[in-house]
Symmetry: C5
Amino acid sequence: KCTGDDLQLKHTWVKLNVGGTQFLTTKTSLCRDPKSFLYRLCQEENDLKSDKDENGAYLIDRDPEYFRPILNYLRHGKLVVDKSQELEGVLEEAEFYNVTEVIQICKERIKLRDDVHHQSNVK
Amino acid sequence: KCTGDDLQLKHTWVKLNVGGTQFLTTKTSLCRDPKSFLYRLCQEENDLKSDKDENGAYLIDRDPEYFRPILNYLRHGKLVVDKSQELEGVLEEAEFYNVTEVIQICKERIKLRDDVHHQSNVK
Amino acid sequence: KCTGDDLQLKHTWVKLNVGGTQFLTTKTSLCRDPKSFLYRLCQEENDLKSDKDENGAYLIDRDPEYFRPILNYLRHGKLVVDKSQELEGVLEEAEFYNVTEVIQICKERIKLRDDVHHQSNVK
Amino acid sequence: KCTGDDLQLKHTWVKLNVGGTQFLTTKTSLCRDPKSFLYRLCQEENDLKSDKDENGAYLIDRDPEYFRPILNYLRHGKLVVDKSQELEGVLEEAEFYNVTEVIQICKERIKLRDDVHHQSNVK
Amino acid sequence: KCTGDDLQLKHTWVKLNVGGTQFLTTKTSLCRDPKSFLYRLCQEENDLKSDKDENGAYLIDRDPEYFRPILNYLRHGKLVVDKSQELEGVLEEAEFYNVTEVIQICKERIKLRDDVHHQSNVK
């Protein structure tokens, strides 16, 4: 399991500007899922093709709040969705960034939620 | 369906200052609904007429929190409203920006919510 | 009803620094209620008397979160209170800024809320 | 009762950096409770002893979110706690800043909450 | 018990950039748990090894929202989790930063929550 002390190692830090909000992360986190768009974003050869803002942050035209659970998943492998957020919003971002495991987890949780809700209405 | 890799293409990025909060998006997103005020905002010929702040962001005198679901709808076509937000607040913004489909969805959800609430009070 | 296209007209933009948070609005919004403190704040002759920060924003020693529903009311005439906020907090700001209609609405909603709550306890 | 027009008077504005977040308030608000640490913070003779950041804001090593209800209490004398916040978190800050009335109110509300909860479990 | 007046003493202030959000704290808070990664982060000899941003803030590739309860615990020794946050998210950060007591408290609260939930489903 990854712990804080791994941060002692020099990392390649990556800045993202998601819909106007700054995020800071590492290439290691972004590369966790090789099928994801974020993996391709931080490949060296990509550097010239992608747009960046004046702080060197990659520009992404998406919601910052619903990006948080996606990025956190890439950091530690758990999907933590705040109680005020809707699973449908997380699913939408997971599909955009193409993080396959998060897509899967969201769909399962939505199904579970709707089944429970349906049951309690039937009773 | 639009995915992250489409961002690889060079986009025209647009900055918005909504009520004091910075948003970053693309002309593509803002132009999704041709009847919307946001469509007209980013037309070339409009450039001289609209006010901008010192960062080149278009000034809009509206609430930033309730603008988020509207902008996200233009990005991906789903209306995701956080559990802490009121549908009436989203409807108000949808009417201001004149995003017809969001107006429609809000009205349906408000009706559904009030019907359910009325039923459970009657029981 | 006011729509986005009215923004095409050149506005007098006003910056507010409410408790440390920047807000952007127009003189039109702030002048909606002539009895309000915000009306007097942006009168020309007032310009020298009120304190401003280094960005030219009027300084106001109040909470920014509970100012949002007040400002939004002045923008569009609906009082939208987030589910995580307390009506008492909105009332307190409405009284400070002296926005008479919002004071009225808050008091009605508080009464309604307490009546319903009382009824459900009595049953 | 204090209203917005009192702001017309020239105030001594005070900046606070609470855990990394900027707050703006006045000496009048901070001096409401003479027993509080915030009272002593803004006394003239204290000016050299306390640390400030590069913007001249007093540095305070505490949570910004739970400081909000404390500061708002000093501004208007009502304790407004958002529904997403825990009373225990507000109490902790009230004790740190030593705002006696807020300590008292928090303890009463916690007792009330726990009594109600206990009753409904007993029924 | 630590109170605000202790801040009168000159502190060693430490800036953290957690996932793109600035936090301000003191070496005293970060050193509360000697087994934690945050303890080692601010040791003098560590200064050259860890990455910092342009403001001199230590870079940490983690979520800022779920870091708040951890840092607050180091400040005052109480674990306060907002109602909108998930205990699992706090646990994940507690394990990353290796704050042993918070790990323990999170596990107990999760167990308690799940037991209660299970009971109410069985009834």
